[in-house]
Structure formats: structure tokens, C-alpha cells
Symmetry: C2
Subunit: 544 residues, 2 copies
């Protein structure tokens, strides 16, 4: 027997409708790409989003078509998202930091028909234009006065293009499972993979993000999403903010410490979210200038692990509460947020930081489990670690144009991370599953060994990789870059681990190197490192 409640599909444009009616005058402030600060509000933004929808329709864009955006966080980018979604087309955010070849591959794979592009990114696309077969039009997100000369096909300044629509238009209505947004995730191997968000997944994700134990934002907040809209769906903030009626400050193209500080201060931002790199720049700026953060209440840090010292500095020196978060493009992206549950509410100092260094706990709507290599669930004891699998209405089940699903028979998505879960639901990443070292059927966390090694006073950087071993399958090799002018022996280095980890975790050998390879985003490139040591064999004594 079915219930008798209304059929009210979860459509993303209902979010901007709600904001325009109930939070009409709430400001949306942008540091525009042209320079000046631009201010609008949700009522005006919705009106322009309707014009975007109307204008796209006139260009022949229809249900299911992909419209790419290559743009910073601005009010224009925001109204484009709603306008695109409001006719059932799909916003496809492209990360301009990708290699040009990847961008070309992604645009062609997505079969984007239109690109909405900031002037900043024109040079990238101009070099690729010949290879972008499906693009019919480039809408440059500026006005006629600021329109650069460009040979891009049918390029038009956004404001002129938009002026051709009068806004006398109504949203389209369709199934809530209709595609709404798209974001490619670039793994370390193979081609990028397209994640295809639905209206339903975006709306549910926004509802999951709002409460106190997740983002914890409300209509009295001024939210600055520094995390770009092209980075993993802007961590949901482009939808959560209007849903709850918060004011929004969009940082545009300038993400340096001074520029971010200026906006935080001038617009009394209470809540922000970004990767550690951004906060590092801000903290350096604050230290250099002696400024404080009297308005900022809370900051979400994700994208990569939040350094403990960063959490501590924000909280102790600037009275800003840090929420460590974890997610994936495939998860819309929120997976866990590290707010403090009552069991930990009395903690202070190091004990609190220990908790906050974890990636947090899942909100309702995200299921997590850890499993061993045979897919058996492992205990939630905060110590045992296993492959982290997730499930939920805002988790991907398949990549765009892939024939096979991305989930197992029970619907679980393998995150590729190795983690612990504790009895309160807190998750901590201990490794990537391809980096974990499998020794005699047990797992050794490469990250934990690396974190220990860099604690040695002579070590500048350390990496641990698994090396084939005749008896144990794999054993850890410690790769070390010493600090300038230091010398050390293998025995000295390995002795440092004694008493700090189980004996069988201690690496079997040490390789001193001049440099450890890094990815574009500064992470250790384990694949390259493994490649370099692919012919390495442990000394005979160690191999026994």
C-alpha cells in the first residue's frame, strides 16, 4: 500500500524558488572577474536564472544537453547553474587546472554543446578550440565592455546574450532522477570519469549538508564558498546556501590570503570552506599583518587531510571552529564531517585535536563500512582498518558512458581509501587502498609510517611503499629525503620506529633519495615511486 502524500519531485530549481520567496533580499556578493564588488540577492538571481533558462532554450538546449562551465565562483556562475538545471539540461563544471589534453577529452566525452566561460580561462580554451567538436557556442561571462577579442565559435558576451531573454518563462518539470550536474574525476590512471548528479541527489545532498552535525549553517550565516564550483560540486554550497537562505560571498578569481581576508572582513563572513592550501595562505597573511577573524565562526577543511597544526591555529589563535571533512566527487561530495558528538564534547587541547584530525562521521544518508580483501565487514573499533565502502542517495552508481556499474552487488561504492571506523561513527583515512602494504595477510598503513618518519629531526620528507617479498607478499620500504646537510644510517632510521608501531610494521629497508616525486596538487606520487623501485629487492637477510 502506498502513502497518500503529494508527489513533489526534488528538483534543484525549487531551491532557488524557495530562496527567492523566503529569503528574497539576502545578499549574494561577488568579487567580480572584472574587478569591482558586485551585489545582488536571491530574488534577482532567480529572475536572471530564468532568463538563462529561456535563453538556453532559444539556443536549442534541451532536456539532457550538457552545458559546460569553466568559471570561478561568481553570481553569474550560480545563476547559470540554476538556469541550466531549470530546463533539465546538465551543468558540467570543468576544472581549469586540469591538463589541456584532459579538458579536451572531457568536453568531447561529455559532448558539451555550450561553454559558459570566464575571461580568465579563454586562453586555455582558445588553444583547444579546434579539438572541441561538439561546442556550438561560447558564452563569455562578462559584459560587452569587458569582452576580449576572441576567435571562439559564436562567442558572445554573457550580458548581451542574456539581454535577449525577457525572463517571462517558467521552469520545466520532470522526474527528480533527471540529470542535473556533471563533474569528471581524474584518477591517477586511465581517462577521467564523469559523475552524473541527479536533481534528487543534489537536493538530498543539500538537505544532508545543512544540519548542525554536518555543515551547521543557517539563514543568519554569511557563507563564503572558497572551494570552487568546479571542484567536486562546490561541496554542495551552491545549493545548500540558498536552500537555507544564507547570504553568500563569492570570491571570484582571487584566492590569495590578502584577497580572502579582505572579503572575510568586509562582508563579515561567518562560515567558509576550502582546501588546506587556501587556509595556509590566509594564515600566513594573518600572521604577516597581525589581523584577526572576529566574524568568522566556522570553517570546513577538506579536499585533503587538514593538518593538525592548522586546526589548532584556527581554534586557539583565531577562535574559529574547524570542521574537518571528507568526501569524493562521486559522493556529491560530502561523506563525513568532523563535528563533535556529545561523547567528545568535554574534550579540550590535544584530546580534542585527536578527534578533529579524523575525517568525521557520516550524516544520515551516507552509509559507511570497512571490509577486508574478502569483502567481510570489519569491526568498528577505531583501530582495525579496511577498504572504505559507501552507499547513499548522493553516491554514484555508475560513471557516464560506462557500461558496467561502479558498485558491488549490494550497491556499495568502493572509495579506494583505507580507513578505520570507531563506535561513534568517526572515520579516519589511514591510506589509499592501492598504497596500503599487505604483509602476511595483514595490512600496514603507509601513511602512518610516513607521518612517524617525518617526525624524525633529520627527515625532510618520507614515503613508504610496498615491495614484493617472497614470504610476506609485500614488505614496507621507507624512502627518505634528509634535511639539507644531514646524514643518517638505515639502522638509525629504522630504530626510530621501535616502540612506536608494532614490530612487524617496521620497514625492512631504507632508501635515501634526493627527491620524492609529487603530483600537480603536491601529493606524493606513489605510482612514480613504485615505478622507480620496481627492480628493487630487499637484502637477503631482510627477505627471510
Amino acid at each position: 500500500m502506498l502513502g497518500l502524500m503529494q508527489d513533489w519531485p526534488l528538483l534543484c530549481h525549487r531551491i532557488i524558488d524557495h530562496a527567492a520567496l523566503n529569503h528574497a533580499e539576502r545578499p549574494v556578493i561577488t568579487r567580480s572577474i572584472e574587478g569591482p564588488i558586485h551585489t545582488t540577492n536571491y530574488a534577482a538571481l532567480r529572475a536572471r536564472a530564468l532568463r538563462v533558462a529561456q535563453r538556453l532554450e532559444r539556443d536549442g538546449i534541451k532536456l539532457g544537453d550538457r552545458v559546460a562551465t569553466l568559471a570561478w565562483n561568481t553570481w553569474r556562475h550560480l545563476e547559470c547553474w540554476y538556469g541550466i538545471m531549470g530546463i533539465g539540461a546538465v551543468y558540467h563544471t570543468i576544472n581549469p587546472r586540469l591538463f589541456p589534453d584532459q579538458i579536451a577529452w572531457i568536453v568531447n566525452h561529455a559532448e558539451d554543446r555550450v561553454v559558459m566561460i570566464d575571461t580568465t580561462f579563454l586562453p586555455i580554451v582558445e588553444k583547444l578550440a579546434d579539438r572541441l567538436k561538439t561546442i556550438e557556442r561560447y558564452v563569455v561571462l562578462t559584459d560587452a565592455a569587458h569582452m576580449p577579442a576572441t576567435a571562439l565559435r559564436n562567442a558572445v558576451p554573457y550580458e548581451e546574450w542574456l539581454a535577449e531573454a525577457d525572463g517571462d518563462f517558467a521552469w520545466k518539470y520532470f522526474d527528480e532522477n533527471t540529470a542535473a550536474g556533471m563533474c569528471y574525476t581524474s584518477g591517477t590512471t586511465g581517462n577521467p570519469k564523469g559523475v552524473l548528479y541527479s536533481h534528487r541527489s543534489n537536493v538530498l545532498h543539500s538537505m544532508m549538508a545543512a544540519p548542525a552535525d554536518a555543515m551547521g549553517v543557517c539563514s543568519r550565516d554569511v557563507i563564503m564558498p572558497v572551494v570552487p564550483m568546479f571542484h567536486a560540486n562546490c561541496w554542495g554550497l551552491a545549493l545548500t546556501s540558498p536552500m537555507i537562505g544564507a547570504a553568500v560571498v563569492m570570491p571570484g578569481a582571487k584566492l590569495d590570503g590578502a584577497s580572502i581576508y579582505e572579503l572575510l572582513d568586509a562582508y563579515r563572513v561567518t562560515f567558509s570552506a576550502a582546501v588546506p592550501t587556501v587556509w595556509l595562505m590566509l594564515l600566513q597573511h594573518l600572521e604577516a599583518t597581525g589581523r584577526k577573524l572576529p566574524h568568522l565562526r566556522a570553517v570546513v577543511i577538506g579536499g585533503s587531510a587538514a593538518p593538525r597544526a592548522m586546526i589548532q591555529k584556527f581554534q586557539d589563535e583565531y577562535d574559529v571552529e574547524i570542521c574537518h571533512a571528507w568526501g569524493m566527487t562521486e559522493m556529491s561530495p560530502l561523506g563525513s564531517l568532523c563535528t563533535i558528538k556529545p561523547e567528545y564534547a568535554a574534550l579540550t587541547g590535544d584530546a580534542k585535536l585527536d578527534v578533529q584530525s579524523k575525517q568525521g562521521h557520516p550524516p544520515f544518508g551516507v552509509e559507511m563500512k570497512i571490509v577486508d580483501d574478502d569483502d567481510r565487514a570489519l569491526p568498528r573499533d577505531g583501530k582495525t582498518f579496511g577498504r572504505l565502502k559507501v552507499r547513499g542517495p548522493s553516491v554514484a552508481r555508475r560513471y557516464f558512458k560506462e557500461d558496467s556499474g561502479a558498485v558491488d552487488a549490494e550497491g556499495w561504492f568502493d572509495t579506494g581509501d583505507v580507513a578505520t571506523l570507531d563506535c561513534y561513527g568517526y572515520m579516519q583515512i589511514t591510506d589509499r587502498s592501492k598504497d596500503v602494504i599487505k604483509s602476511g595477510g595483514e595490512w600496514i598503513s603507509s601513511i602512518e609510517l610516513e607521518n612517524l618518519a617525518v617526525g624524525h629531526p633529520k627527515v625532510a620528507e618520507a614515503a613508504v611503499i610496498g615491495i614484493r617479498h617472497p614470504k610476506w607478499d609485500e614488505r614496507p620500504l621507507l624512502v627518505i629525503v634528509l634535511k639539507q646537510g644531514q646524514t643518517a644510517t638505515k639502522t638509525e632510521m629504522l630504530g626510530y620506529f621501535a616502540g612506536k608501531v608494532a614490530n612487524w610494521w617496521i620497514p625492512d629497508d631504507v632508501a635515501f633519495v634526493d627527491e620524492i616525486p609529487h603530483t600537480a596538487t603536491g601529493k606524493i606520487q606513489k605510482t612514480a615511486l613504485r615505478d622507480r623501485f620496481k627492480t628493487y629487492a630487499f637484502p637477503v637477510a631482510a627477505a627471510e
Copy 2:
């Protein structure tokens, strides 16, 4: 084109799964019907809910079957809800305060197969048992030691019944639109009407209720739902609390001021919700004893309008923030909550109370509009009032076993209330639509005139009803009960309105009476009053 996210139906038992995994040890404390305080937690509650599900299945209860509950707020009632929903059966909460005839009618109409019943309510049902044709079994919510003698069919103490299931059981999975719960609403005319909640509507409603601008609750809260589970779905708190992992204090059968205070104090309750009558009893107890409320952070008041003086007293004398709320059984039930948006954040004193006296603003997922008699939308100016219509995923579209829908062609449900909406989304009820007086095509609020009239020092109670008028269709008649020993003239009474309302709002005549009829819940019974004055005609002078 559809998105490629996971199909993860919104099922209510996923809520208790989430709580049991992520908030396992959070306490659920009950003042038991037997007397002592009982403590359990979400992990244990889920385990027992699974046994309820398993045991119901053994009794032959299956998808779509209705299981009635006639019970106070206790841990047993809570685990019954989840157990019932977990096999796709429907919890049907019966309000024991209804007339026995209504209860019999409702049980037969719902075709309930089992009744889960507190010992308190056995006498009610024993008198009706012969008429309850569909009931196969009565499960009495107590243990064998406290089981009263009863002749009810197949009556069994809950704990014995439950002991026959070992809990080795898994929830059923089904479409999220499957019926989950049922609650009858008793209008002033006709038979009660059954509202049939779905799993989807219950889950979405809980997600709407949690954020700061709605209930504003989190895992660090200790929530006491004083509003009964048999009253309009417990305002969602039986689902929202485990969803966000809050501790719960269940007040059982004792809702008097002293008992409520005792729980608030002993278990450091931070958040509660109830009708004004309950809070009146609590405030009287506090005044009589000089106690304070150091732990209580916020209280939601709904069910009927929160008196201004009550809001003021809670906030000024006890430092408890009041959230005035409005809803309907047909809305799951939340419609609006009066949290303070930034536009009003600086208000204090009377200006703040003016806002808080409104019924509040809708969360995302509730659409509201006001319309005139021709169904044209009226302006959101905070002054114009019209019929309040609502729409959303947790609003009813049809009543149980009714052939015709309860919504208009565009899906709007008419609340039967007359209200204003302001530009910030705040709604204020000004009347019931059947009580509003339609004079010359314009509407006059009976409630506003009544509120004014009782401000007159000689008036004990006042009611205003519309009387047929040859020229204006209807004109207001003021019905007054004077205070003991007072006398007054019609001219004196009507003169009191001068300058306080528009001249054409002033009633055309006054009827002095000894008593005004009331409903069981203390509201003015306008139908009875109109009946009494059905032959009344205005004096000739007034009728011109």
C-alpha cells in the same frame, strides 16, 4: 537523461539503522507507565525494533497492514513504530482523547489488525471491543508482572510477546512511497479523515525539521517530545531525534507541571516541544516553586497559537528561546517555524515578540501561498490575508479511502486557514476560513476582533461570527460574556473598537450571553454559536 546516482529509497528504518551505528550509546530515557525511569539507547532500541518486526510477521502482519497504537511517548512506543514500519506495515496512532465513538469508527475505517496499547487506555478499548471488528490481537505495552486482567481478544503482555522473537531478522525493502504511518484528523464536521504518511514523506519531513531555521536540533541536544506520538505524528520528533542522534527523554503518561519539570531538570533536557496548555502548567509550577530552567535551551510551541505572554515569560524569566510553530496532521505536520531571520536579528522586546507571535516561515520543502475566493494569489505584504494553501512532499494529496483528491488542479492543499504572508516568508494565521467574515467582497478577521474585544476590561470572553446581511453578504456580530458583576451597553462595547480597526470592520451589533460554547480542547465552537444565532437578524438601522 537520468542521473547516475544510487537508488537508495528513503525508508524510515534507515533512520534507526543510522542512529544505532553512529549514535549507538545515545540514551533514550522514559518515565515508564509502570512508574520507574527506564533507560536504553539507540543500538538496543533498534535491536528490539527488529524483534517487533519479526514478531509482527509471525502474527501474519504484512506489507500495508495497519497496526494501531494507543500509547504514550515511551521507548516501547518508539520501537513499535520502527518495527511496524520495518516490514512495510503502517503505524496508526490513535488519539485516546477522542470520543469513544470516534475511536471505534477510526479503528474500523483503518481496518487495524493489531492494537499496541498502554495499560492506561485499556478501559477505553474494553468498552469498545465488541465493535472493533478487525482487531485480531491486543499487545499490552508492559511486562507479565504488570499485566492487568483483561478480556480483550488475544491480549498479551508486550514483553512476553516480544520474547518470542530472537531478533535474527532483517528489515524489508520496498518502494519509498510505501505507506509508513497513519493519523486521523477530526474536523468539526463529518467523520475523521485518515492521513497516510509514506516512508518518503516521513524521511523528507525529518530532514526538513532538523536544520537551525526549523527545529534546530543536533546530536548534543537532549530532546523531550512532550507532544504525544498520537498527536500529529509527534511533530516529527520520533524520527528527527534518531536521525540527528539526539538523546531523547520520553515523558510517558505524566504531563503535569511538576512531572515535566522533574524530567527537564534530572536529564538536562535542552529542547522540548508541546502545546501551550503543557507549558502553562510548567510555568505555573515554576512560579509556585521558584525553580529555574538552566539546561533548557529552546522550546517549540504549536498546536494552537502561542500566547505572547508565554513567549515573553519563557524568554525573559527563564532564558529559554521560544519557537512558535504551525502545522497540520495533513502536513506531517510541520508547516512553518518562527525562527529569527537576519532581517529581524537585531529586534528585542516588543518588536521581537511581534515577530515571534507569527506562526513562522516554511522550511525548504513547504510551499505556501495565500489566495482570494477566486483562487488568485494575493500579495505577500504582511497585511493582505487570504486562504492559505500549501504544497510539498510531506503534504497530503488524498485522504485514506476517499475517492477524490484533497488538492486542487495545481496540487495545492487548502489548509482551511486564513493568513498573511510577509516579504520575508513569515506567515500569520488571522482566521479559519470558515470563520472569516466576508463583507462586501472584503474579508474581516474574526480572530482579530475577538482579540481586541477581550482587551476591554469588562469582557471575560468574546466571539465574533458572520451574520447574513442583505447588502454586504455578511456583517460581524460580537458575542460577549461579561466578567462577573459587570454591566455594559452595546454602544460602549462597539465604541471600544473605534480607531483600533478600520471602521467597516466594527461589528454591527453585540449579543451579551452567559456562556460561549467550547470544543473538548477548549477552542470556541463557532459552529454551535452560529447555530444559536441562525435566526438572528441585524436591527434595521444596521442592515442598511
